[in-house]
Amino acid sequence: MGDYTSSELVSIFAMQGFAGISLFSVLLLMALGLAIIFGQMGVINMAHGEFMAVGAYTTYFMSSLTETYFPSFMPYYFIFAIVVAFFVAGILGYLAEFVLIRHLYKRPLDTLLATWGLSLIMQQSFRTLFGAREVSPTLPDWLLGSYQPTETIDIPLNGMFVLALTAVVTLGVFYLLYKSSWGLRVRATTQNRVMSGAVGINTKKVDRYTFALGCGIAGIAGAAFTTIASTGPTTGTLYIVDTFMVVVFGGAASLIGTIVSAFSIAQAQSILEFFISGSMAKVYTLFALVLILMFKPEGLFASKVRR
């Protein structure tokens, strides 16, 4: 590496650091919704990826709509689309809970199967509605290109956007779960469902809204990822493995665990990827994960709830 000036190397390391943080924010945003549902309700939502796709398709739909009818609104529609994606995915999640999941709470393995079936139904619906081709929404100009603090550093704007969005969503989830009275009810239900019911908490309602919130956050994640990649009917399946990896590694019932786990997986992967090839980086990351889970099967942050 003789022909590099030290400032160039510094820039590369700065950009590589940001690549790691950017991957961290992507993984965290993917996993948050699943962690809430899995952690608070014990439901393994195999359709999580498809709820992300719902968010992504909503963004695509909003983009086409804006382009056709309100072209002057193009620079701003994306923020609006994220909010809509949250509500569309949330409402679908609410319905899914009402129609399907609530009948299966006592049978956790069946929820696995049922949500997997749901994911297949959703994939086919995307294919019917939007076609098999992958689509991309037209992004506003402020999301394209890079920010250049110095001559040699390029920080991707879409990466910064996803990072900021992840921060907002994570803080929002923390506020909801640990500061609001609704969060208190959710946590009470998680700890002791019968007792919570006895003191007058409508646990069924809590379940429904928790599920809807988890799916809504998946929708936000999906909307955000349209800035990075394209959306197709089976896009969800690309993300679901990484998502589960983050949640399981972090420890099922812990939001802090999810954050720490997303951070360590992202850093491990992006640093390894810088020095060895992409495929092998993934292999080593997964290998390390398996090793750690062998010694800590509960994940990094085991839940302290007595069962």
Partner: protein, 420 residues
């Protein structure tokens, strides 16, 4: 209830036998009461293919779902267009072509399973399909064992020639070598960074490219990188490329990953103003998903671009848009897929038979030509590949390319000496 499984199977078996008996007199009746104008079925099909007195059945096998759907949709649309046009002209040997379509679902074992279904169960006379090399390698043993006939449309790495496959795309020397020669000459490129998706085509292509760069062009490969199929995170790779400062990024990223790759390149500030990029995996089809603004100024090496200005192509583009909508675009493989049914028609008519062995024997004579091909004149070589020209296109914001270089007609050479 205990024996219900058995009796059900028994019933099915009985029904199967009954159906067989019922079909027998019908078959005899049909084959004897044939119309004189078209050759009788017994003459043109002796191996039990799905040929009747007025139809012949073929298979189409592409991914309609999964990460490859973005690329393969166009190919199957083109094949259907060609089949429709052939049917409108009266079909082949007096038979209309009927299509059975199967979905390979971007999954290689599924491709093998579906091709077995098409050949064994449906007895199709030919299959138009497969896209990635991995899917072709998966179906190849099936076609060889069942003696089927596959028209494979994609540009690919070469190093293969099967009796049961006609390759309508270009092999490596018709694409990779000319592209590298062009970029070395025009852009004075000396250092190359190779990046591809992690499966057989990019890996073999890069192996050939590396040999050519190092041995023939006297250049240097400063990095070689593969990403898992469907991966969407390119941040670290892009930084590695920045560190190496190559003259040319030589890319073979496919499918959905392609979109992420170009979006992130643009977001990282690597544009055609600062960096020459030559790719062997982007056609108009992919640009639709990637977005022209993310590709503007980068180069692709292909044998066909939709913007090509000739009469054949104008007719083809118009017919394609009429059938599949004004928004549809046509990429290199889509055009190559369109050639499949026409080449098959030519060979069948010469052989006067749908039998695979006879059709292959005609194809192997090396003088079947298509003067109506949208890419221009093509001719089928003895080695099952097409003579074709290589073209370099520079992408514009609107998703179309300007052709900046066209080669001479290149002889296909699937086993180039010194590259294996």
């Amino acid at each position: 209830m205990k024996y219900s499984g058995f009796s059900k199977r028994h019933n099915e078996l009985r029904r199967h036998i009954l159906k067989g008996f019922m079909a027998l007199p019908a078959a005899i009746f049909l084959s004897t009461s044939c119309i004189a104008a078209t050759p009788p079925t017994s003459e043109i099909s002796t191996t039990g293919l799905a040929v009747t007195d007025d139809t012949v059945t073929v298979g189409i096998l592409h991914s309609l779902t999964g990460t490859m759907a973005i690329s393969e949709t166009g190919a199957q649309e083109a094949e259907k267009l060609a089949i429709k046009q052939i049917n409108d002209m009266g079909g082949i040997l007096g038979r209309k072509i009927e299509v059975i379509q199967e979905d390979g679902a971007s999954d290689w074992p599924t491709f093998a399973e579906k091709s077995r279904k098409l050949l064994v169960q449906d007895k199709v006379a030919a299959v138009f399909g497969a896209w990635t090399s991995a899917s072709r390698k998966a179906v190849l043993p099936v076609f060889e064992k069942e003696n089927g006939l596959l028209y494979y449309p994609t540009f690919y790495e070469g190093l293969e020639q099967s009796k049961n496959v006609i390759y309508t795309g270009q092999e490596a020397t018709q694409q990779i070598l000319d592209g590298l020669n062009w970029v070395a000459k025009e852009k004075k490129a000396k250092t190359f960074y190779l990046i591809g998706s992690d499966y057989i085509w990019p890996r073999t292509s890069m192996k050939i490219a590396r040999k050519h760069i190092e041995k023939v062009l006297g250049g240097k490969v400063v990095g070689e990188e593969y990403k898992p199929l469907g991966d969407t995170q390119f941040g670290s790779v892009i930084n590695k490329i920045r560190l190496k400062k190559p003259d040319v990024i030589y890319a073979a990223v496919v499918g959905g990953s392609n979109v992420a790759w170009f979006k992130q390149l643009k977001a990282a500030g690597i544009t055609s103003k600062k960096q020459t990029l030559l790719t062997i995996s982007v056609t108009e089809d992919e640009v639709l998903g990637i977005g022209g603004e993310n590709l503007e100024g980068f180069y692709s090496i292909m044998k066909y671009f939709q913007s090509q200005d000739n009469e054949n192509n104008k007719k083809f583009v118009a017919a394609f848009k009429e059938m599949w909508g004004d928004d549809s675009v046509i990429g290199d493989v889509t055009q190559a897929a369109y050639l499949g049914p026409w080449l098959w028609k030519a060979a069948v008519e010469r052989a006067g038979s749908f039998d695979v062995d006879k059709v292959v024997a005609e194809s192997e004579k090396g003088d079947i030509e298509l003067t109506t091909a949208p890419e221009g004149y093509v001719k089928l070589h003895k080695n099952h590949h097409l003579w074709s020209k290589a073209r370099v296109g520079q992408w514009k914001k609107d998703g179309q390319a300007t052709v900046v270089y066209t080669s001479e007609l290149i002889e296909p050479d699937p086993f180039p000496a010194g590259y294996q």
